[in-house]
Symmetry: D3
Subunit: 307 residues, 6 copies
Amino acid sequence: MFYQIPNLINPIVVDEPDPSAANALQEGLGGQFGEMRTMMQYLFQSFNFRGNAKPYHDLIRSIATEEISHVELISKTISQLLDGAPGYHGKKFDVPGKDGTTPLEMAKEQKNPHHFIVGAQGSMPVDAAGNPWSGSYVHCNGNLVLDLLDNLVLESTGRLQKCRIYQMSSNKTLRSTVAFLIARDEAHEMAFAKALETLGVQWSKLLPIPKFDSYQYPEVKKLIDAGINREQYHFSLDGSEMSKIFSGSAPANDGTELITLKEPKKNFPVNPAPERPEEFAPGLDPELQEMADALEEAKKKIRAKMN
Amino acid sequence: MFYQIPNLINPIVVDEPDPSAANALQEGLGGQFGEMRTMMQYLFQSFNFRGNAKPYHDLIRSIATEEISHVELISKTISQLLDGAPGYHGKKFDVPGKDGTTPLEMAKEQKNPHHFIVGAQGSMPVDAAGNPWSGSYVHCNGNLVLDLLDNLVLESTGRLQKCRIYQMSSNKTLRSTVAFLIARDEAHEMAFAKALETLGVQWSKLLPIPKFDSYQYPEVKKLIDAGINREQYHFSLDGSEMSKIFSGSAPANDGTELITLKEPKKNFPVNPAPERPEEFAPGLDPELQEMADALEEAKKKIRAKMN
Amino acid sequence: MFYQIPNLINPIVVDEPDPSAANALQEGLGGQFGEMRTMMQYLFQSFNFRGNAKPYHDLIRSIATEEISHVELISKTISQLLDGAPGYHGKKFDVPGKDGTTPLEMAKEQKNPHHFIVGAQGSMPVDAAGNPWSGSYVHCNGNLVLDLLDNLVLESTGRLQKCRIYQMSSNKTLRSTVAFLIARDEAHEMAFAKALETLGVQWSKLLPIPKFDSYQYPEVKKLIDAGINREQYHFSLDGSEMSKIFSGSAPANDGTELITLKEPKKNFPVNPAPERPEEFAPGLDPELQEMADALEEAKKKIRAKMN
Amino acid sequence: MFYQIPNLINPIVVDEPDPSAANALQEGLGGQFGEMRTMMQYLFQSFNFRGNAKPYHDLIRSIATEEISHVELISKTISQLLDGAPGYHGKKFDVPGKDGTTPLEMAKEQKNPHHFIVGAQGSMPVDAAGNPWSGSYVHCNGNLVLDLLDNLVLESTGRLQKCRIYQMSSNKTLRSTVAFLIARDEAHEMAFAKALETLGVQWSKLLPIPKFDSYQYPEVKKLIDAGINREQYHFSLDGSEMSKIFSGSAPANDGTELITLKEPKKNFPVNPAPERPEEFAPGLDPELQEMADALEEAKKKIRAKMN
Amino acid sequence: MFYQIPNLINPIVVDEPDPSAANALQEGLGGQFGEMRTMMQYLFQSFNFRGNAKPYHDLIRSIATEEISHVELISKTISQLLDGAPGYHGKKFDVPGKDGTTPLEMAKEQKNPHHFIVGAQGSMPVDAAGNPWSGSYVHCNGNLVLDLLDNLVLESTGRLQKCRIYQMSSNKTLRSTVAFLIARDEAHEMAFAKALETLGVQWSKLLPIPKFDSYQYPEVKKLIDAGINREQYHFSLDGSEMSKIFSGSAPANDGTELITLKEPKKNFPVNPAPERPEEFAPGLDPELQEMADALEEAKKKIRAKMN
Amino acid sequence: MFYQIPNLINPIVVDEPDPSAANALQEGLGGQFGEMRTMMQYLFQSFNFRGNAKPYHDLIRSIATEEISHVELISKTISQLLDGAPGYHGKKFDVPGKDGTTPLEMAKEQKNPHHFIVGAQGSMPVDAAGNPWSGSYVHCNGNLVLDLLDNLVLESTGRLQKCRIYQMSSNKTLRSTVAFLIARDEAHEMAFAKALETLGVQWSKLLPIPKFDSYQYPEVKKLIDAGINREQYHFSLDGSEMSKIFSGSAPANDGTELITLKEPKKNFPVNPAPERPEEFAPGLDPELQEMADALEEAKKKIRAKMN
């Protein structure tokens, strides 16, 4: 069973909107190796887990839970990159498009016009080429060794693609999230590689994949300095045996150590997104808000009377 | 951000395996109107929410969180219906299929052979016709009124399909979960209908959809008697304004009242699934288990020395 | 612009329900070479037609219009084959599944469980393997010669598949529709082959495809005797130049002649399908019907007053 | 059974070609909430209709028939927006691309290169992100109340998306069609909302969705002034009971009245599209045209002799 | 560039037709981890290979070429399992289905009716649940280490699924091919694992996946005894550096050695499949055969005269 | 069974990278009428061939084998058009994106961002709109006449689309391959049309499709002058009866003759693609290369000792 708080696992830095950057980032959300895949793959592996190897079960379930928060983080990052892209910056309309104006003119030239026609300047469960996410991406083989190896390939491919996306834009909104996910994917590579190490594999100098010094990316450096790429959280309100695996020397064989924690040391509040009238995305329009307020007022009175 | 406990939101009753029943139930998991859709649709609506109508935001996010636990429940129910279906009941093999035997012979005649070839007698993100779940199922229009109406249709269609599935099997494993989901879908219908009621709509005698007396289903009756179909949980570790909407008379207009709670009154532990050697799904085979144990022992000694 | 009458282009004979036959027939509706494809392909070719070759334009548009009626015919045939398949024969329930009964038990073993979970014992836009129809099936190349050749292949493949379906069942409901479509596909083969003949091709003994004596199928014989396989209708309320092509000797080179008509000599009324309570498919339940009646009564009075 | 005339349901205004606008408009044709969906969804609901509630049956079938003409209208509008986009304006080539020239150079930068490689500057059954239309979009639940509610959501989402597309371009070709479809979608919202009103629902101020004053769009204003958004046509050559529902006050509760007609007061002839040699889309090339003419001449003589 | 001989890489044993076994085997052909995937994945990796690591390039290209022959082998095995399944065993018809008979009656109950309606008792590019093969299965990351690891997972999953299929049927036609592919997949596991071993990884006791003694399967034992699971062929008419990797001790660490050869020691002729009149699959019908023969006779005479 | 040499069937001319041209060319590789379709369609028709009409069987199998080399050619052409597109021309990085630079900035604006995020500046099995290739494209009807006609339509449509792509770019890399494929598609049109001619069809002036004088394309002229468009190769290491069909006058009826050869007169070596560090596509990084070298050295010594 699952619980939530409204905060984010990492802060999203404010920068200009950039719909092309948003579109590239969709690969990390709804692509074949994106966060929706990791989330659903590990959830299914956790739900279908067989046997008594509890530390392995806990490891998979814990990372699965973290991935839900990653889907949240990257989804909101994409939305922020799209939000206000047409350049209206919150300007008020009585009626969008009144007198035949074209507040969304730029939209028809963007990488994925669905971001404006369908998604109202918000994220969607699709990849950077506009293909919807598919259940066929989820691998759950019922063979623990194979699942661990598949997960290692998944995290490695996801990290590779995010390193490429990092190089596509210096937009700080995109960078804050991509750098965090690069660091976390590396932690997850360590987790699955370590689990295979407990079964006898020696990785020598193969990891991480892709093999390069991510410490030289300024945004990633800060996170590595904070130890983000060697921690794993179990997010359990009820204990965990994950640390039996996720501890000791990292399988990157670079002298670092793995550390298990309940949850990240901090979490981050998030502001509600503004209304976008040109998308007919007003939250509640005033007439309806008034009705809702009146109803709530009435309820309060009834409650008052009943007490 | 999200948290977890290992327990289930509803207990799964033990009965015989039944792969056809499992296949029908896949519609409720990976179908166009199944729990994966509700989970992802409400998560996306929550992540992309605009404006300050916090009670509506909280309502959607809370139901989204519940749906993750529904995906867990229905996924494990399907797995339980499949588990042991080939009739081996945990019999030990040195080598599955040794001497050319055919322990999985029945599998090639089952509704979805993937349950045995791919899924190792476990649930999959597909529907009852074998189509993988698609991101195109998720509707997130950025227009609150339309999203509420779309969610009402989604819950109604999901409930209609589950009522049909209920009539397809008297297997208690299937029934315990389907009855619970029928009751919860009704609660969610009430939630979205009530939100629209705050905006002026009067539903008269239209709800719930499908319109019939589910009290006459024995398994549902028990849940209604316990009030399950008029409660909604927010699952928040940090408060919620959902009760501003989800309270007062139910929009079914049948004299019942809506009640907001933090979480279900009980949750239910779950046993690990057994190993299935004929699927090469052993958890860890003894040779590898031994290695893992040795490694852990070594770690313990190191930790002991370091302290 | 399009018009309609409620009648069918061919009668559907009554026989027992047969869900497997219904499923096979889905190929003819929603398959890659089924009636939805022919309908949409010819409509798109008609809408995108270039140049002044009006007789060719009229030919394509006329067959497109006929295909809508074919979609109707085959869709209703499938529904009739499914209707009542669970064996309840219109029996009245207060509440389907009351006391935990299983009126849809057989459904979970049927070829496509969607026919019962999703489609309420009705036809669906899918093929015989359960794949949804796809827009990628539509070929509209903008090159008239190629489009004509593609259409000839389409009709030939459709006819081949229907001849195979004919051999799968002697159910009269299926047979009445399949025999009609075999005869009509042959007429359409003649239409496109004749159009190519006007451009110089000589077909010798190649047509029709598949090459066999369909006169020996009793149900087809009757239709051939009535001339159905050498007629083409333009369905236009405003004239047509189609007969400039569709006239003279048939390109099957068997001594027959082609005849253009406005519409089939007869059309056939159809009874409404019965209510299916076990699918919660009641038309209107009594309580709602009562409301609707009351409203209409009120309207009548208002109208009476106003006159 | 269905009939046709060659004219359009609304005129298409001439303006410059605009492939990006054409691509945006594809969402309204082949998107999940576009005209192909409404056409097929209502046709399937009509073919699978159960019970004797004839006015509801007639309502759905009539709107289905109108949607075929919408598919025609939007399809031809897209084609007109694409036609001549490469800038050749009918210039004659002996051989396209002769001497290695690149008359289609711009095509490889357009939103959907398929419009030029596959579709010959014509419309295609795809959405604005290039995904082919899917049969899974069609909802036909067999439960009348749910189908009406689903249809209301469908029309509302379609209208929302078209209002966004309206704001993306001031091209008159696009605008003439989009404005007409916004007005008609509103009429269809009224139709399904009214049908639910007959079953007891009161909509208060919720409709139409999206809620805004479309009267301030000049192109829509003209259509509203002509009453287009409160009329519904049954297109039946054989009577209809639709007016039992579609009459009286509009469920927008704005003082307007609903009016049932046989068909639109006017329809509009359409010119054939020009040949596009750079697409090898010549209609008939001269050599083949000559053969066709010779053949027809010969047929005439034969007919003359025979009389 | 590629060449061919008409022979097979392994013989197919004759046994009774079995359409369910054929359907299960489709997973090994058109499934996500089937032979079409391995063939296309390695071809793409070979075509897109970067850098001068020629032995690795040769290794991938050689296995790619072998996979084409695997697609051929498994495709023909499926066809043989389907061929004659309706029970007509080559019986002559003048006209299939004459007098309304139903020679394909069993077809509508088979796992995938497409095998009879579409595929004429032949294999198709689909999986065991009827989903068509998708280009999205192909992974070609452009990072050699990751591609090798992905290929190892691919071969392991393919082998796991084939081991399950082995246990589903004792049909000798299925078994001869499945046993061969289990042995070859193990050889390919060794190939990619060995390539990773050259880069430093030590596999200890992890391989092969799934880990079990396949020597106890009688059909596999024969192939292992012949050394099939430790050989790799390069199929190059022009030399290869593959043996720089594929030689020395196997990474299964079981004392076996890897051996590189040009091609398998034997290959196997194959008989043409019989005609199937009930599928209208006659090869050439007599009338057309006669024309073809006459034409060839004429050609011969012309050639004779010209010399 | 299949063999290979590392050379290409046609040379690829060097020119500037052009990602839009690469994207257009994807249609010819992974589109519905591209080379992957022809390759798989003819392979399946060859594997499922029925009856003794060996010349027809040989014809299909031979063209199938050629298509594998076409997939190779077009795949490598696309890769070459993409390679270096970001403008780094092989410049060495220690760490791509070091200090937060954006070497892939242009990528997010390209037609298919997957070419850079997923494919590492390499070709992919998708079409020009980014849709993955689908097994549903493959037609294998089991009826020889229909398969030949379908193949003729396939080659004609493929040629039509390539003629359009030719007109989209004067890039010499694209042109060298497109011109070759236009000439080869015409040869394949001749092959299937000739096979139908042996069965009695007379094509008059209909062929080739599209009908135009491709001799006026300079790059095609050179190939026609060399006779490329009237040759067919059987690629068999073991003889062929294909020439019984592919000989005599071409069915284009333009006075040309068809010629059967074993293989093209020349084939063309190809250089390895350079490493692309900004894609983390290094071949082997130096540290890993060193390990591999050390291992090979050790192997050599062992071999030396053993001899």
